[in-house]
Amino acid sequence: MAAETSLPTNIETSSEEGLARSAAARAALADVAREPGAAKPDPILVADGITRAFGGLKAVDVAHLEVQRGVITALIGPNGAGKTTFFNLLTGFDRPDDGTWSFNGTKLNRMPAYRVARLGMVRTFQLTKVLSRLTVLENMRVAARGQTGERWWAALFAPLWRGQENENTDRAHDLLARFLLDKKAADFAGSLSGGQRKLLEMARALMVDPELVMLDEPMAGVNPALKQSLLGHVKSLRDEGRTVLFVEHDMDMVRDISDWVVVMAQGQVIAEGPPDSVMADPRVIDAYLGAHHDTKLTFEAEEKILDAAQQELAEEQENEQ
């Protein structure tokens, strides 16, 4: 297909150093136990006992989770598993009822969202949040860090910030080109299509130059051809030394790019491991891909299945020891 070949795919063009770094990071994961809450050799993000309830519903109940630095970690789980809520809690957009978590060793409890972002942990939203009545380019420029012109007194004197603004503009154009949005730079962001908004949001998050990028369903609504090239971009983020944590329902994509997969169901982390082993895990197939997907469950039946699954789990763990 002509359209597909014309897309830039830089999957194989990563720098030597980047490739070496990611290979090393993945090698480090080889020895990590394939169980929920497994300790990682070099975690960038550590969460402990995070719970969040909405009324009677425990949306998130994560006992322990570590995210390895410099790799691509996928967070998967059925609808309503609590993935987005977990993202919100980690990034300061919501407060957990209980628990502690840290980024690069800095405790993030009660830290406002903007400071979390400044530390280098930047997220995107499942329901895209573009700044509609600003141009695409302005959407990008607003994201740049440490702008002198963001102080009100400096704002009055353009010479104080013009140089920085030009640099940011160049960087914004580079990123937009990477996400095939450079032709849209002068348009209002509100005029973009749903998929283009996803792309813009991702590009904007990168404009912050984050160490950890957290993407909530970045590929939802993006056409298959572009998806392929985006996969390349996400991989290149890792090869630049960034850490990526993303939520995704597209299993092919998860299999293709993630080094590690965390599975959530009903608020809890139920499995962890490299993509192939996780997807072969019967617990995951049960909970996520859904052995019972097609049959309508009563509450009692659901309880029973859950009990059975937990028993199975306990037995399995005993067998392993």
């Binding site: 995107t124 939203f125 600003l134 607003v142 704002a155 009055l156 353009a158």
Partner: protein, 332 residues
């Protein structure tokens, strides 16, 4: 009916002292509402605190008018902080409710008998404009052909429009900068701005303070143009007229409030004069009293004005200066 005097009288108001007051108030609201998306329904409170502080400092403590103005600006900033601390972290509607209440509280306080010693209760304060009038370069009425002002009014008009120009310049400089870009981004989506590492609360506070202080300038002009100040100058409708001015001109446009104020006062005066002349029993009666009496005439202008505003919102919702393209993408 004498249309040429109708026209020149309306022009006189369009560029007169009241237009300046509403123009400045609307410039402040433009920063709040137009650029940052903050719903301030209590601009009258900022104007009152500015005007009253200035007047009281002069009458009570006999400080110079210019120092009193600085104090007025300072206290307005304090008011903005007081209103902002509890509300700016919450949803937009909370600020609206709190500012409406604040405007009422402020007006009641200035009008209260208990504080008559300081604020003169319903009589208000006078005799504070000497420093301003001492600088008046005009020694008689100023006649520009179509419009003419008395000596004192002319001085207020001259200084007033100069201040308006200065405010517009500041708004223009700020809104093209990264600082202004953050305000506009907050208007579009607060959470997105937070996720990019910007302290939204801090910028909203700055916006509230700046817009409030420009409101204080409107308060100064209100007091100086009549060399008096009293609570009735700051009734709730002041804020709503200022919003009307802003919407006519077009929100989030630097010159929107200026054009809006001129058009608003032109129409308001024109309609008033027109209807009162048309129903005047002595002259040639255009509208028979069975339809509208002379007493009703002065109220009809507000009805027509409201109708005009509705039509404007339907057919040109972006205001005179607004950008239609921006509106097309609303609500997606």
């Amino acid at each position: 009916m004498d249309f040429s005097s109708l026209f020149s009288d309306s022009l006189q108001q369009a560029f007169g002292t009241s237009a300046i007051v509403y123009c400045l108030a609307a410039i402040g609201l433009n920063i709040h509402f137009g650029y940052t998306g903050l719903l301030n329904f209590g601009q009258a409170a900022f104007m009152a605190v500015g005007g009253y502080t200035m007047a009281m400092f002069v009458t009570q403590w006999d400080v110079s008018l210019w120092l009193a103005m600085l104090a007025g600006l300072g206290l307005t900033a304090v008011l903005a902080i007081l209103l902002g601390i509890p509300t700016l972290r919450l949803r937009a509607d909370y600020l609206a409710i709190v500012t409406i209440a604040a405007a009422e509280i402020v007006r009641q306080v200035y009008g209260s008998i208990a504080l008559k010693k300081y604020f003169g209760a319903q009589d208000g304060l006078t005799a504070f404009s000497a420093d301003f009038r001492a600088l008046n370069p005009f020694d008689g009425p100023v006649d520009l052909g179509i419009v003419s002002w008395g000596k004192n009014d002319a001085w207020v008009v001259l200084v007033g429009w100069f201040v308006v120009a200065l405010c517009c310049l500041v708004v223009w400089l700020l809104m093209r900068s990264p600082w202004g870009r953050i305000l506009k981004s907050i208007r579009e989506d607060e959470d997105a701005v937070r996720s990019l590492g910007k302290n939204v609360y801090y910028y909203k506070m700055q916006s509230l303070m700046l817009g409030g202080m420009i409101g204080a300038l409107a308060g100064f002009v209100t007091a100086l143009k009549s060399a008096a100040i009293n609570p009735s100058f700051f009734a709730t409708d002041v804020t709503f007229f200022a919003y009307t001015v802003l919407l006519i001109g077009g929100a989030a446009r630097v010159l929107g409030p200026v054009v809006g104020a001129i058009i608003f006062w032109f129409l308001l005066t024109f309609l008033d004069l027109f209807f009162s002349a048309a129903t005047d029993d002595v002259g040639s009666v255009l509208i028979p009293s069975s339809i509208m009496t002379n007493q009703q005439a002065s109220l009809v202008r507000f009805i027509v004005m409201g109708l005009a505003l509705m039509l404007l919102m339907i057919f040109r919702p972006q205001g005179i200066f607004g950008d239609r393209r921006e509106l097309a993408i609303d609500g997606r």
